[in-house]
């Protein structure tokens, strides 16, 4: 409202513009928030006028005892100076008339308290008698001669509002109403005088309606009432679409058809039932009742009322109007019985008018709504029967429920909406899965009824067929710009942010099986090894334990020890009764590193034959073991115990061992590749040599096997390329002497070279 006067032109301009914009914006926001009516000046003015009016009317009523205990109106503010003091009291005229007239008059008076008209109606009484078309006094904010107070007022409002959208009008109306027509300002006036006038008391309690809306822009305003000011939001990719009406909004009121119908039948309605109340509701405006009130008030738009018609329709009147719509017109009849005001300040419970405004409700309005429920047919039948019987019985209660002024605050649409939400939860694609017992119960009941009723006829039991709820795909594909790395994360309520981008690696069944098998086998082996280990540890600890245990228990301990060792060996055995070491088992165990260590630790504890057998098995399976043990370290643990075993071997056993080691064709070279293999070979040979050299009577030479074996070994050794001959862990010293027995000088030298056997022992 104020403009900067600045020297600098540019500055001025900018500031002005900015200010102007700001003002507009401010006003816009203001209007958004409070409605276009929340303009300071007017508010105050209006308020003042009302207060003045209040005083004025109080003067009228004089000292008529205020029987109704009302809270003193908070709006008793001394009128601002801007208001011309009322020169005359609103009247004597008021008192002259009869009830209906007075109601009308007062209504007009109240209506006149509107700012636009208040200026007019400083002489309020004039207005009451007014022939509507023109006023004697134009409203202060120079309107073109309004044809009617209401319209004039509206025009005034137009002027006041600065460029607000038409959408704002409705909100304006709400607030305007509340400030203009708070019951507080009016009621003391009316109530005290007309306490027995039901209309007044209703007005007292309810307050007066807001302005009837201009007929035209119903719907847009209607929408705005429910909808918050449109927010400016750019659509977010992946977000749910921006809705003009937020999702949780209950449906808007269906006004249009109501309007039409109400217009067509203005009724002479008489108000009944004086009300005792204690708490006038602060803001009676609500869309539904008020809308309807407005609608009902639209007859006000017309020229002079026929006498005797209550111009202001109270809630009760409206309710009655509705009822008249239903076809029970007129219901002007005796007052509904006043229920005793017993507990706590309740008004008599008037009950609710029939929920449907509009066409005459069919008598059987308790029908089950077929569009929202999916009941088992049997169930439905039962419910219908039940309802019908109840309908026949209970008619009297409906009578009482007619005149609740606040009924129907929740409209039919809203009820439907809630019901629909609740029914959505009951949707199911497979009722037999979701509600098995329900289905079966009703089927059984049906069968039973059929059986009872008519045993001959066998109908198929009716099945419930629910509409299949389509499962919608709600996957969200993240947006990805071409050429960029990764994807945009646009998280919204429908696609929450993915924390982990887990990718499923699909493997075929076969592969999986194989993998699983391998793993299972390995697990099995490890398990066996573990078990053996525990036994082994027991065995190893035997010594210690033996020392510690007293004499008596030593026997038992010994037994235990024996059994352990036996058990250990058993696991290596092929079959229970076969002493041979199972190759499979052995291999299995030795395939695992742990297993190898196990065997190396185990060997010393085994009784010699068993140990020999184990070593045999090792030798036999040398190639396989070698293959599995590419890193030579692990097998080498076996060297020591094996060496020990070898040394305890008999000659024939030794020969056997060597044979085993050589095994089939081509085994030896492979063995030679392995460090352990070579070592083992050397061990054997060395042992043999030792045997031979130490004991001239040894049976090593008895059969030619040993000799032949050695020969083949030497042949192999010479044949095998040096590269594939792995160096042994150690070279027994007597190998040279061994070889010297069996090979000629030349070969010996070659061997010597190859194997780096020196004459001098290490």
């Amino acid at each position: 409202m104020f403009r900067f006067q600045s020297l600098d032109d540019d500055c001025t301009l900018e500031e002005e513009e900015g200010l102007v914009e700001e003002e507009d914006e401010i006003d816009q926001f203001n209007d958004d928030t409070f409605g276009a009516g929340a303009i300071d000046d007017d508010w105050q003015e209006e308020h003042a006028r009302l207060a003045e009016l209040d005083e004025r009317v109080q003067d009228i009523v004089g000292g008529g005892g205020d029987t109704v205990a009302l809270p003193p109106p908070a709006v008793c503010v001394p009128p601002p100076s801007s208001l011309p003091p009322p020169s005359s009291l609103p009247p004597p005229g008021l008192e002259e008339r009869g009830g209906g007239d007075f109601a009308e008059s007062l209504a007009r008076l109240i209506l006149g308290a509107d700012p636009a008209i208040a200026g007019v109606g400083a002489a309020g009484h004039d207005r009451i008698r007014l022939p509507p078309p023109t006023h004697s006094q134009p409203p202060p904010s120079t309107l073109p001669g309004p044809s009617h107070p209401l319209l004039g007022y509206q025009q005034h409002q137009h002027l006041l509002r600065r460029g607000t959208a038409p959408l704002q009008m409705n909100s304006h109306n709400i607030w305007e109403n509340s400030m203009g027509f708070g019951p507080v300002s009016v009621t003391p006036v009316l109530g005290t005088h007309m306490e027995d006038s039901p209309l007044m008391s209703i007005i007292k309690e309810v307050g007066l309606p807001k302005r009837p809306p201009p007929i035209r822009s119903e719907d847009s305003r209607d929408l705005s009432e429910r909808v918050p000011p449109p927010r400016s939001s750019s659509p977010v990719i992946g977000s749910p679409p921006v809705r003009a009406v937020p999702i949780g909004t209950p449906p808007k009121q269906p006004m249009s058809h109501v309007l039409n119908q109400q217009l067509h039948c203005p009724t002479a309605v008489h108000v009944r039932a004086p009300v005792q109340h204690r708490y006038p509701p602060p803001f009676p405006e609500r869309l539904s009742p008020n809308t309807l009130l407005n609608i009902a008030n639209s007859p006000l738009c017309r020229p002079p009322f026929p006498a005797g018609v209550g111009p202001v329709l109270s809630q009760i009147q409206r309710a009655q109007l509705l009822n008249s719509q239903v076809g029970a017109f007129p219901r002007g009849g005796p007052a509904p019985p006043l229920l005793p005001g017993g507990g706590g300040g309740f008004r008599p419970f008037f009950g609710q008018p029939p929920p449907r405004i509009g066409p005459h409700i069919p008598p059987n309005h308790n029908a089950i709504r077929h569009n929202t429920t999916h009941l088992h047919p049997q169930h439905r039948r039962m419910l219908t029967q039940r309802l019908q019987s109840r309908g026949d019985r209970g008619g009297r209660v409906g009578d009482r429920r007619i005149r609740d002024p606040y009924s129907n605050l929740m409209t039919q649409r809203e009820k439907d909406w809630v019901a629909r939400i609740q029914m959505m939860q009951l949707q199911s694609t497979d009722p037999y899965l979701d509600d098995y017992y329900y289905q079966n119960y009703y089927e059984k009941m049906e069968k039973r009824q059929e059986r009872d009723r008519d045993s001959t006829r066998k109908e198929h039991t009716t099945k419930l067929i629910t509409p299949q709820v389509a499962k919608l795909e709600h996957t969200y594909r993240p947006v990805q710009f071409a050429g960029s790395l990764g994807k945009l994360t646009m998280s919204s309520v429908n696609n929450p942010r993915k924390m982990i981008d887990a990718v499923v690696t699909s493997r075929t069944d076969d592969e999986e099986k194989r993998e699983k098998q391998v793993w299972n086998k390995r697990r099995q082996i490890l398990y066996t090894v573990e078990k053996m280990y525990s036994l082994l540890l027991e065995v190893q600890d035997f010594e210690k334990k033996f020392i510690q245990t007293p004499e008596e228990q030593r026997e038992a301990l010994l037994e235990q020890h024996k059994s352990h060792t036996l058990q250990l060996y058993n696991t290596l055995r092929e079959r229970e009764w076969d002493e041979r070491v199972s190759d499979e088992q052995c291999l299995m165990i030795m395939s695992v590193r742990k297993g190898k260590r196990l065997v190396s630790r185990l060997l010393p504890f085994l009784p010699p034959p068993q140990a020999a057998a184990v070593v045999m098995a090792i030798a036999r399976n040398m190639p396989a073991l070698a293959k599995k043990d590419k890193q030579d370290q692990v097998l080498c643990w076996l060297v020591e115990p094996v060496a020990v075993v070898i040394q305890s071997l008999s000659s024939s056993a030794l020969t056997d061992l060597l044979q085993e080691l050589q095994g089939s064709e081509g085994q030896l070279p492979r063995v030679l590749q392995n460090k352990f293999g070579v070592t083992l070979l050397y061990l054997i040979l060395s042992e043999g040599e030792r045997m031979q050299s130490s004991d001239p009577n040894c049976q090593l030479m008895d059969d030619n096997r040993w000799t032949e074996l050695v020969f083949s070994v030497t042949r192999e050794l010479l044949k095998v390329p040096s590269s594939s001959l792995s160096p042994p862990l150690f070279t027994p010293p007597n190998l040279l002497s061994l070889f010297s027995r069996y090979v000629d000088r030349q070969r010996l030298e070659l061997l010597q070279e190859k194997l780096q056997i020196s004459a001098l022992s290490r």
Partner: protein, 133 residues
């Protein structure tokens, strides 16, 4: 009008007088005007009724909007049966006084109990520090 036969719904209870018991122990009586899918209630002309012994007092409260989760139970009041009750209505001041006295005795009893237990070496945690469930 039967909205959802075979189900329990508050829709048929609209515009009827109800007694609502809240989780904090208050008793409200009002006309149920509106509901929503969470059973949030709009109560009109609500009165908070305080019961102490055989007496009760009503405090008028106006319009209540109750969040659904705070409702323990609610039920329609039969208007005919509403008034034949053995309970005696008293004024607000009196009932508040009675309530205060009742609270007092309860607190004292509780304290005495705690004391007795403490003497015996036992302790019961206070309900307000316990978890609700």
């Amino acid at each position: 009008m039967n909205y959802m036969p075979g189900t329990a719904s508050l829709i048929e209870d609209i515009d009827k007088k109800h007694l609502v018991l809240l989780r904090d122990g208050r008793t409200l009586i009002g006309f149920l005007r509106s509901i929503d899918q969470f059973a949030n209630l709009v109560l009109h002309q609500t009165v908070e009724r305080i019961h102490v012994g055989k007496k009760y007092g009503d405090i008028p409260r106006g319009i209540f909007i109750v969040r659904g989760e705070n409702v323990v139970l609610l039920g329609e009041i039969d208007l005919e049966k509403e008034y034949d009750t053995v309970l005696k209505q008293v004024s607000i001041e009196e009932i508040l006084e009675e309530q205060r006295a009742q609270q007092q005795t309860k607190v004292e009893a509780e304290r005495a109990k705690l004391q007795a237990l403490k003497e015996r070496g036992l302790s019961i945690p206070r309900p307000d520090v316990l978890d609700e469930y």
